[in-house]
Amino acid sequence: MSGHTQTAAAPAASGTTAPAAVADRPLVEVDGLIKHFDLGGHFLQRERPTVKAINDVSLGIRRGEAFCLVGESGCGKSTLARIVMGLLDPTGGAIRFDGTRIDGLKHTARKPFHRRMQMIFQNPYASLNPRRTVQKTLEEPLRFHFPNLSDADVKTKVEQVMVSVGNDPSWGTRYPHEFSGGQRQRISIARALMVDPDFVVADEPISALDVSIQAQVLNVMMDTQEARDLTYLFITHDLSVVRHFGTRVGVMYLGTLCELADTATLFENPRHPYTRILLSAIPRISTEEMKPPGLPGEVPSAMNLPSGCVFHDRCPLANARCSAEVPRAQCQADGTLVACHAVEEGRG
């Protein structure tokens, strides 16, 4: 693994980033990210309840890769994605895109990044305007970012993109409700690709679809990645999809990054105790009966984080140090990052 990724990905690198050739540098850098949500509470209350959704997460997404983010519901995957996309402001830390810091950028300054970064959501029904024809929906981002394009050029572009994701261009005159879930999701993908982005965030893009349709959508996503040299941030809870589709995987638990590894490495040699349990719980086609995953208790509340390692009260390897000291992400010999005292101490 090359040096730059270690600096960009390890928490130790918060603050300034080491100078590196722009081409080597990850396309997206998440550096010491913190996100707290303050919940209402009474203004006289000394301490208002705070959801600590993301707690010092650092990672780099390399050019051309499909970076997958996995972890249980509520661990902060969507929050991280929305901060990267500029839909939420971070509480602390920085987001860089192609070397430029983009968190906190306002409208006009943000516009070029807005074009280069697109998002696909879980529910294709809710994310497409039901009163707009597919044609209108697809034209809109194009006209916004390229106001000088002629009508003919716009039309050609829409057709091109529709064909490139395997959609029939004649769908343009129809409305979202006339399509199946998989077709709608392929329309959302087309919309994201209209403005030739470099980076696409897909938050559970296939979770709402049937297996027979999931494969269609994943194939389209893989084909377009190759054809357009796209970089993906792909969020999912389906680990068999990650295994098939991901270049590297980040595993999150309760707002922290436990492990970050090449996909093959993660599945062959998971190191963080949480990753191991998570992988063992994946259902697979097998005649072996389902077994309990050996994960005692419940996920603690993000309003009241455990001390030390956030996983310590459920972890089979926890010791006194784990409940006192926050483990930092450490780079292993093969480049995998693991934040676990037991792994560091060789007890893993």
């Binding site: 249980e72 519901s73 199946s180 879930g181 998989g182 077709q183 049937d210 297996v211 027979s212 349709i213 999931q214 494969a215 269609q216 994943l218 194939n219 893989m222 084909d223 809870h237 389906d238 680990l239 068999s240 999809v241 295994r243 098939h244 589709f245 996909t263 093959a264 349990i277 998570l278 063992s280 719980a281 994946i282 259902p283 697979r284 086609i285 097998s286 005649t287 072996e288 009966e289 389902m290 077994k291 309990p292 995953p293 994960l295 208790g297 419940e298 996920v299």
Partner: protein, 326 residues
């Protein structure tokens, strides 16, 4: 004799656009203590089958053919009152959303005690004792204390475990679980499914597990029924069906799963999508999506053939099973 024997079940929904047939001649059975999976994609008719068994079809749905034999009675012909006595007593249901079962304004304890007393002539104290025992069986920590909790005070996984405890209260002969873990994380899914497996075994309860997840079905059930557009297209021993699927739809589903092939390779997709009930094609309903379709697939609906130990509804099943179909 099986515990539950569903024969040639037909369910229709009369609508403004004509009568929609949601289930055509669906047959399956569950033996005492047996675990059966019903799989199929969204709209295939899985929930309609469950609701038909329990006489809970939403209007205007109705059973227009077939029999549902359960413990010597045909549930399809029972009065609403007789059915109510069976539901929640001899047959329990678990839904995807635990709040379909739980009342948000009552404590867990109150709900459990009331449920039991509705079906059994027992004292409050006895009902409480049984409730606490069931909560313990589903691994709820400090069950006595949890009796006083409201549903909103529990996590999603915990709520679903309480629902399972409620389903077990009356020691039913059959539990029908409709996507019980679809909304939950994989670790919680594994926890709950292995728990259900255990409980079904120790209590000798039959289980119908409805899901779209073939992997879960393969690790939990003994037999499986694959539904497509309201018809059984394949059924048999789960291990046989997942290892040697015959129907092109079952084959397609299994080979579309990521994790089967080489990472990064194109997945074997099934083209198109399942038709809505209003537009079921003639002949084999799967033929427009099928790589093996021939002219004769477009004409008559193929019968459900018994081939070796499989039931398969496919014109070309015999060629497929011998591996000679191109």
């Amino acid at each position: 004799m099986p515990l539950l024997d569903v024969r040639d079940l037909r369910v229709e929904f009369p609508t403004r656009h004509g009568v929609l047939t949601a289930l055509h001649d669906v047959s399956f059975s569950v033996d005492k203590g047996e675990r059966l999976g019903i799989v199929g994609e969204s709209g295939a008719g899985k929930s309609v089958a469950a609701f038909a068994i329990l006489n809970l079809l939403s209007r205007p749905g109705r059973i227009t053919g077939g029999r549902i034999l359960f413990e010597d009675r045909d549930l399809a012909t029972l009065s609403r009152a007789d059915m109510r006595a069976i539901r929640g007593d001899r047959i329990s249901m678990i839904f995807q959303d635990p709040m379909m079962t739980l009342n948000p304004v009552l404590t867990i304890g109150t709900q459990m005690v009331e449920t039991l007393k509705a079906h059994r002539d027992i004292s409050d104290a006895e009902a409480r004792r049984i409730a606490i025992q069931r909560l313990g069986e589903v691994k709820i920590p400090s069950p006595e204390k949890r009796m006083a909790s409201y549903p909103h005070e529990l996590s999603g996984g915990m709520r679903q475990r309480v629902v399972i405890a409620i389903a077990l209260l009356t020691e039913p002969a059959l539990i029908i679980a409709d996507e019980p873990t679809t909304a939950l994380d994989v670790t919680i899914q594994a926890e709950i499914m292995s728990l259900m497996l255990d409980l079904c075994r120790t209590h000798g309860v039959g289980l119908i597990l409805i899901t779209h997840d073939l992997a879960v079905v393969s690790q939990v059930t003994q037999r499986v029924v694959v539904l497509y557009a309201g018809r059984v297209v394949e059924s048999g021993q789960t291990a046989r069906v997942v290892q040697n699927p015959v129907h092109p739809y079952t084959r397609g589903l299994l080979s579309a799963l990521p994790g089967e092939g080489e990472p990064g390779a194109r997945l074997n997709q099934i083209r198109g999508s399942m038709p809505p009930l209003t537009a079921i094609p003639p002949g084999c309903a799967f033929h427009p999506r099928c790589d093996y379709a021939e002219e004769r697939c477009r004409v008559g609906v193929p019968p459900l053939d018994v081939i070796e130990d499989h039931n398969v509804r496919c014109t070309r099943a015999r060629e497929l099973i011998r591996g000679v179909a191109a």
